[in-house]
């Protein structure tokens, strides 16, 4: 029951945050230099006066501020994100068409970085005073300091231009007409470079987190007990220390979700991956503010959904929360 109440509270909080982001978007449009109608139309410069007048009327920009805010909020509540005048399509259609690609990319990168990070971090914790442990941590620091978009570009140069091993652009081979398993393999091949480059930075973070968390857990009394019982070191590391170190890692991994979405903007830009990150880059280049704000809202919503999933997983991993004792 308590678990259910916890989820209800989280959902309620999510709605509040989304509402605040809508208001935030509204304020941003008002703050922007120039005529809001011009911004919504994606025209920062001079445009046809008649067209702007029609736009103002259509968006109710001639109405008082509170009416405008109400229209904006109720519009988004009914999933109306406005119109992309550059592409001539409703913003929602554009975003929904690109969402699956982003989910595939960030999902793969997330699983990859978490798995590799936990393995590397526990190895580093077990070899805390040995050179091999220091090497892992040095590599982690190096990946942490490397700009994501630069790793992406350099991997294109290395793996695609010089070694000619992997495709560097897009999500599948254009015009190949693959279906079924062939299509899955084709997409998989295109996914390798973007997912790996996106994962590297987060792997570095999870490696450092896992090591710190495991070193902290290894100070606890039950570890001394396990050693006194004469258990093998590998068993203690895996079953006593790692299991207890995992909870903080799950929490922090959830908090990283927002960064992952930000990273996707950069990787998708480099690899022309047809997700909402690439769409955001295109919206930027075309000064398509309506689309830009729509994507911004969606990316925040994505992070919130992800955080709720983390909470659910956390509840499953730690039975104390579920039973509420």
């Amino acid at each position: 029951m308590l678990y259910l109440r916890l989820i209800t509270m989280r959902l309620l909080k999510a709605v509040v945050v989304l509402f605040m982001i809508i208001i935030f978007n509204f304020v941003l449009i008002q703050l922007a230099p120039g005529d809001p109608a011009a911004i919504l139309a994606g025209e920062a410069g001079a445009t046809d006066e008649e067209f702007l007048r029609q736009l103002r009327e259509r968006f109710g920009l001639d109405q008082p501020m509170y009416v405008q805010l109400w229209r904006y909020v109720s519009g988004i509540a009914m999933l109306d994100f406005g119109f992309s005048y550059r592409q001539g399509v409703p913003v929602l259609d554009l975003i929904l068409a690109r969402l699956p690609a982003t989910l595939l990319l960030t999902g793969t990168a997330f699983v990859l970085s978490l798995a590799l990070g936990i393995v590397a971090g526990s190895l580093a914790a077990a070899r805390v005073k040995k050179p091999s442990g220091s090497i892992i941590m040095t590599l982690a620091l190096l990946f942490y300091a490397t700009p994501l978009f630069w790793v992406a570009l350099m991997s294109v140069v290395l793996f695609s231009v010089y070694l000619d091993l992997l495709p560097a652009y897009g999500m599948y081979t254009v015009g190949a007409g693959h279906t079924g398993l062939a299509l899955v393999l084709d997409v998989g091949k295109h996914l390798i470079l973007p997912a790996t480059t996106l994962a590297l930075f987060f792997m570095a973070i999870y490696t450092r987190m896992t090591r710190a968390s495991m070193l902290e857990a290894s100070q606890q009394d039950f570890v001394k007990t396990a050693r006194a019982k004469g258990l093998k070191n590998s068993v203690i590391q895996r079953r006593h220390i790692l299991r207890n170190a995992l909870l903080p890692i799950i929490t922090l991994a959830g908090l990283q979700a927002g960064q992952m979405v930000g990273g996707a903007i950069l990787t998708e830009t480099v690899f022309a991956w047809p997700g909402i990150g690439r769409l955001m880059f295109e919206a930027l280049q075309q000064r398509d503010y309506n689309l830009l704000l729509g994507i911004f809202f969606f990316s925040a919503a994505l992070v919130i959904v992800f955080n709720i999933i983390t909470d659910l997983v956390y509840g499953l991993a730690d039975p104390r929360i579920k039973e509420g004792s």
């Binding site: 490397t146 978009f149 630069w150 570009l153 140069v157 830009t269 955001m280 830009l292 911004f296």
Partner: protein
Amino acid sequence: MSFFARFAQNRGALFGLIILLGIIVMAILAPLVFPESPWRMVQRPFLPPMEVDGFLLGTDTMGRNVAAGLMHGAWVSLMIGLVSTLVALMIGVPLGAVAGYYGGLIDDGLMRFTEFFQTIPNFALAIVLVAIMQPSITSIVLAIAIVSWPPVARLVRAEFMSLRNREYVEAARLVGQSNATIIVRQILPNTLSPIIVLASLMVATAILLESALSFVGLGDPNVMSWGYMIGAARTVIRQAWWLSFFPGVAILLTVLALNLVGEGLDDALNPKLARERS
């Protein structure tokens, strides 16, 4: 042991400090070594590194000297990193101090506000802010500060909560010092060392953020920055790898150096923790 001796005990930190000093020297010498604007075309475009004397790192798509851009870019990166961190501190420290000192409803409200900013994806928010305010040094600094203050507020709040009931604070209260005086003159000085460590790591993150913003085309159009150089070379990566390679190495070294220095400062400012850790 002196402060510097403790700092130097961490060999990585010493290495980071040397790199960082090198980059600062690079930034200062830029106008002397390359007095001309880094935007000027000086040779034929797409000149590979070390082919013509005086063009160690080659030229870009417009025939501009890559080495000149790199040195002038150092100044831009360091300045934006430093100033945006200072602005973030100016937002985060007061909010965290007030939340931690007063607690209760004020704390609740301020923390909900902080959480809101932590939920929004950092980079997406920075992009939207700069795009709407129009790219300029000011808008970039503001955007980076707005997305990076929440960790400061949380840290300062935690420090204030653990310090607000100490004897010296009680004593100050008994003497009749005002809350503002206690916050600024009694507690704040005791929270400085973790703030300094966090700030050095934030400068590194700010430099990464700035380069990413410039990369997607949101840099100040009047200044040469490392991220811009990589972004401008993105479409010609197949013909000219060096255009993206060198600025990327520069960012990597700067961010790495700042992280190492941050760790060293942590060791030097919290000697007890450092001993436990090793």
